[in-house]
Amino acid sequence: MCLAIPARIVEKLDGDAARVDLGGVRKEISLALVDGAEVGDYVIVHVGYALSRLDPEEAAKTLALFEESGLDLQAIAAGSA
């Protein structure tokens, strides 16, 4: 449920409005539900509203966690598991 997608703020518009970019597609959304989002930030967009900012560091950490499996595999190969 709750289809939402991370998009990058490319322009802040009047009021709470902002323009976001997703793979070259631009759409006007509302920032009324998040504080402090700035141009360049990624926000999670749902039904035309940003729900939260996306934390790039946490994203990188999560991606690194996925790769843990690779590390473990090496450990297995080394017979240490």
């Binding site: 449920m1 035309g48 509203y49 729900l51 996925f66």
Partner: protein, 386 residues
């Protein structure tokens, strides 16, 4: 698409699959419920099942707002739009095909002359009301905590600008109550017919409510919960984290979706929601019957924008199609193929139950993406993936 494509990477998926296979204890079965339709969809759409060991079974939960919307609520909207030509009823695309009474749906009510319009956003409904002062614009709002704040916002805006021809039929429901109902169900609690070793917790709902509300389930019911994003790698990682908790005898709330979910969630959105809405004593969920304190209604102060007050709408509970097993499926007791009419009488073309409507519904997901698995493949000249 940054922060999307990385989380759909097939090479990483293969590594995660190996890791899961390795970490899963071949001596036992694992049954996890993904509460959200978003996860259900990801699993079906990307073929995640093919990457899981046979002893890891995913149970689809009731986390699809379309699937749990009871017939009586749609009937209410249809009655309104067909009886009052001045009403423009707008709603999200998802709601249009939900089967209601008398073989109708909002889409079919539209074909019968009702002015039903699809909107992309609650803001579009508000704009429509400003544009058509001579009409009554009614927004049929559905959704979990994710979709509720935008509805709260437009109600406040309507009040601020004194937009008298706008109102909302509020069908917003709450995730924790639904999880609780499942955990309290006899099949899970007493009979044990639904083995449930843990939950994948909501992604976008949690951006709003945060991870804290799940602590209760982990502690009280001793079930591990991993909040996960809706991309397929997120799902696989969450499964891996759940397997680890089970293996290690833990029952904690873990957060795989830290890039968007904090412990507290979105406090601004929460404040807005509690300003505009209050708890309903009880609300009917399709498949779960009446669930206490499981939905929101518009507060008295905003009654002028509450379509249920404004038009005196009355909810009448309507039983599901007798053959439909949606209820049992939503509670994890049955699977789509347990339903006698799955794929014959009930198809996405002519859904009999709501699980066949949204592509996040368990029946639709299995029909659209997975039903080839039910039939033995005769032969296949070209090699499939291993």
């Amino acid at each position: 698409m940054k922060y999307v494509d990385e989380f759909r990477d097939g090479d990483v998926a293969a590594k995660l699959a190996t890791a899961i296979a390795r970490e899963a204890d071949t001596g036992r079965d694992y049954a996890f419920m993904e509460f959200c339709g978003g996860h259900t969809h990801a699993i079906s759409r990307y073929g995640v099942t093919d990457l899981l060991p046979v002893n890891v079974r995913m149970i689809h939960g009731p986390g699809c707002p379309v699937c749990v919307l009871p017939i009586g609520r749609i009937d209410m909207a249809i009655r309104l739009v067909l009886s009052r030509p001045d009403v423009i009823l707008c709603t999200y695309g998802d709601c249009l095909r939900v089967p209601a009474s008398e073989q109708l749906s909002l889409l079919k009510a539209k074909a019968r002359g009702g002015d039903v319009r699809m909107v992309y956003s609650a803001a579009d409904a508000l704009a429509l009301a400003s544009k058509h002062p001579e009409r009554e614009v009614v927004f049929f709002a559905i959704g979990f905590e994710t979709t509720t704040p935008p509805t709260a916002l437009v109600i406040k805006q309507a009040q601020a600008i004194g937009l008298a021809n706008f109102s909302v039929i509020c069908n917003h429901v709450l995730t924790p109550s639904a999880i609780m109902t499942i955990l309290e169900s006899p099949e899970v609690r007493d009979l044990g017919t639904v083995p449930l070793d843990g939950f994948i917790g909501p992604a976008h709902v949690s951006t709003i409510i945060g991870s804290r509300p799940y602590a209760f389930f982990a502690e009280e019911y001793r079930k591990p919960v991993v909040i996960a994003g809706f991309e397929p790698l997120d799902v696989m990682q969450a499964i891996r984290m759940l397997i680890r908790q089970v293996n290690e005898g833990r029952a904690e709330v873990e957060n795989e979706f830290t890039r968007a979910v904090s412990e507290d969630g979105n406090l601004k959105a929460q404040a807005l929601v509690s300003e505009v809405f209050e708890l309903r004593r009880s609300f009917e969920w399709r498949g779960l019957h009446e669930v206490p304190y499981s939905a929101l209604r518009i507060r008295r102060a905003f009654a002028d924008w509450d379509a249920e007050c404004k038009f005196g709408l009355a909810f009448k509970s309507v039983p599901d199609n007798k053959a439909c097993e949606c209820g049992a499926i939503l509670r994890g007791v049955k699977t789509p193929t347990d339903c006698k009419i799955f794929g014959t009488v009930c198809t996405p073309e002519n859904p009999m139950g709501s699980c066949m409507v949204s592509s996040e519904g368990a029946c639709a997901a299995h029909y659209n993406y997975g039903r080839f698995r039910d039939i033995p493949v005769v032969a296949e000249p070209s090699a499939a993936v291993s």
